[in-house]
Symmetry: C2
Subunit: 162 residues, 2 copies
DNA sequence: AGCTAAACCGACCCCCCTGGTAGGATTTAG
DNA sequence: CTAAATCCTACCAGGGGGGTCGGTTTAGCT
């Protein structure tokens, strides 16, 4: 229960978009819309997820500049960058907000009782050391995983049906 | 918002108990109750946390065999093992349950729609690869941090009041 | 023996956030 | 003009986190 389903769904969307993206063709015109963007309906069907909810999810990805969109008939979504250049850290952060293992990490000015150990003075509590390490572990694993890896993995899985 | 406050409070308790434990005296009778166990009331006051709630938290630590207790007057809690031999992974796991970055990780038989990508066949979804890495990052950071480190850190902080 | 400090236990409760729905407005290909 | 799509805002139900309360047992002290 660490990440919410927004992260799950969002990552799925990204992987699916990565699969749609034309591979092999190296360095042709970037940043331009593909001929056939993928509609959210198609993605929802492919993954068996509720369309209306995915709208909210994909909106976050768009606002974060990870995907681009075209409106109107035959509109849809595509990756704003090649999958190799997208670290999963960006994706998860866009979906979940800041990666903080504990509440008192997010914003310093939420004077909850949680960080009662540092009432006024900014002297760090012992737990902070621990959560910092955990946070580091999470971020490192997300930084070093690219969307391309997941897409690659997904393609391999297809080839082994049974 | 990754870990709940149970983890925060529980870790605090453990650190506090580690501070109480007699240091320096090496290898005297282990596993025996100290002369003056620390009452939960004292811990609650020291940390400014609600006593009644801490009871639930410390119960988890006790059931996990991390702390021991004595009932009755002048009763209280103490570490079941020296702090050097307690990995924070055990502590957090006792408090939070299994460390799983996503719901479908906890128990395999919760056939939610979450893991719709593997409806019947056990073919791993691409997201699973990602969550596995994240989980690894978290666990590694928790395994390599001992309670003794946090206690040490906490003691250092004391010496620098301003 | 009896008082009191403590651990123990289980039931209860409130609020917020997650996960999801509903309904519309806007854009654009054909 | 119409259908297909993105976009936007409001709404809602349920569950779990974060506690509280009351009572029972244990054990030291006088």
């Amino acid at each position: 229960m660490i990440f919410s389903s927004k992260a799950e769904y969002g990552v799925r969307l990204m992987v699916e978009l990565g699969r749609q993206a034309p591979q092999g063709l190296p360095d042709d015109v970037p940043d331009t819309a593909p001929l056939h963007p993928t509609s959210l309906k198609a993605l929802a069907d492919a993954e068996g997820l509720p369309l209306a909810y995915l709208e909210q999810v994909v909106a976050r990805l768009r606002k974060a500049g990870l995907v681009m969109s075209a409106r109107g008939a035959h509109g849809g979504y595509w990756l704003a960058r090649p999958a190799e250049e997208i670290a999963m850290y960006e994706v998860v952060q866009a979906l979940e907000g800041a990666i903080a293992p504990m509440d008192c990490f997010v914003s310093e000015h939420t004077d909850r009782v949680l960080c009662s150990h540092e009432p006024d003075s900014g002297r760090g509590c012992a737990t902070k050391l621990l959560w910092t390490r955990v946070q580091g572990g999470i971020i490192r694993s997300l930084q070093t995983t690219t969307l391309a890896e997941l897409v690659e993995f997904s393609r391999r899985q297809d080839r082994v049906p049974a």
